[in-house]
Amino acid sequence: MSRALRLAGPLGVLASPAFAAGPIEAGTRQAVDWSAILIFAGFVALTLGITYWAARRTRTAKDFYAAGGGVGGFQNGLAIAGDYMSAASFLGISALVYTGGYYGLIYSIGFLVGWPIIMFLMAEPLRNLGRFTFADVASYRLAATPIRAMAATGTLVTVAFYLIAQMVGAGQLIELLFGLPYLWAVIIVGVLMVIYVTFGGMIATTWVQLIKAALLLGGSTLISFLVLQKFGFDFNALIAKAVEVHSKHEAILLPGPQVANPINAFSLGMALMFGTAGLPHILMRFFTVSNAKEARKSVFWATTFIGYFYILTFIIGFGAIVLVLTNPDYHVGGDVKAALLGGGNMPAIHLAHAVGGNLMKGFIAAVAFATILAVVSGLTLSGASAVSHDLYASVIRRGKVDEGTEVRVSRITTLVLGVVAIVLGVVFEKINVAFMVGLAFAVAASANFPVLFLSMLWSGLTTRGAVIGGFVGLISALGLTILSPGIWEAVLGYPKGSAWFPYVSPALFTMPLAFLCCWVFSVTDKSARAAKERAAFEAQYVRSQTGIGIDAAAAH
């Protein structure tokens, strides 16, 4: 034990108070799992080592924000997959399938279908026009100050929702495995992510993503293989058994009551598809490659890895129904009707134990933890860039700031975001993580995507149209989200049925509204500035198509 403690390093030391708390909390927490802790510790040690290495290579702003701009298409594709396959995908979707059957798979599909759209319409112009953040692209020919203020706000709101989902997943996971209080778990994640990002910037974040993506793809493949093995590699038999044991029986093959209302189905579908194209931490990854060709390759590899992963969620989700739902060992008090040990987001972790015992569970838990750490790092870096590169350097200092100061502001922001993430993680402890990510997507689809899309493809967009459209999308998506049952009833505690906005996602209304406002307030904009902005589209378009001028811009 003492040897294990020593190997476990900081995590082992932090885990020790759990022994004292253990007997009191025995009903909800499990015994400390040393295999999991050792694998965790190994990952943390490795990534901290990489961070140390990366910190020495992070000198310029381009290193900090874009890993120097020299990441290859394949690596960047894998890193995008790493950024995208979050704890919400792995833990959340398997949890949704576990409770609702086919409903969860609608998320799996929706999360992927945005990628081809990014490829066909956005990836190349994005790389040809931007430097560090998507606001660079949106403000290319528009007024920098208002556009960057809008884009930074959109980024921070999206990042906040997404961070909540990851922190909650991390807290529940570590609580389950280490027997650590939820709060401590959330703090560990917050501290590690701040270390990665402040010291290692995009270089460290990219490497953390690569390792995590490989671990997650490997781990999911292994679980799926073991699940299928139990059914003689007969997917039919797996589904048949799931239908037999689930309390809803045949109904788990239906889309489910959450999307029984067509407005819910379309709204969710829209948020998932277009939200992908408005996620700031994903868009940021397009600036780490050297040219449009590598950006294109990145999207292809990302789509392939992510698609493969979501196919596996079909097997993992139904596998959890069969092997976790009916096993009393995984439920509070050994009662299969009671809640799952560790909370509602844990079916995938219990499934790992069901197919591969403690070692497998430890491995998968470590993978899930690595997943969360990697995603929160990417999110935090993107939030910090929005503050330092867009708000501080462009809006507050009007571009009159040296790179060193800008990067320093980014590091300080990272620290603040770490604290905010911890607080939000505690406040939203009980929420389903996939649902929360759905909301982040709704905001991304309604605020970031319309402005970015139109700025690249529509010559008529003016600053006035973009700012009003972006803020209308943001505020309406945020407002309707707060008034929807998921927040109004589940978080704020108002009685069931009292939510003002009755649908799961606002995107169906707010995204078209944002586009409409962008259009109306652009075409009615008769100012001299608007005329100039329309005229500047020509040169922007040539650059977005050919990449001519990109090197000069990257060097200044």
Binding site: Y102, L105, I106, S108, I109, L112, V113, W115, P116, I117, M119, F120, L121, E124, F235, N236, I239, A240, V243, E250, L253, L254, P255, V259, A260, N261, P262, N264, A265, F266, G269, M273, A292, K293, R296, K297, V299, F300, T303, T304, G307, Y310, I311, F314, E538, A539, V542, R543, Q545, T546, G547, I548, G549
Partner: protein, 104 residues
Amino acid sequence: MDDKMLARIEGDPNYRALVKERTAFGWTLAIIMLVLYYAYIAIVAFIPSVIAIKVTGTITVGIFLGAGLIVLSILLTGIYVARANSRYDDLTRAIVASATGVAK
């Protein structure tokens, strides 16, 4: 990029071919993706019972459609990359060469 260079690129037949072909191809693939995805969502929304119809054994229409959409996404992005890496990159190289070559 100055106005002279801009005019030169815009007058380049290669540039016009690139923009025309890539825009048409990109939007065609995007519309295929959008139509098929929203057709799927329409089934989920309006005739959800179809999702649970069994095709082979217990595997349902919904599972086939879902897996099909995922595989289709990968295939379409692959097709785009294949075309872009040959045709569009060749055109782009030619455009850049003629634009920067004359500029010197």
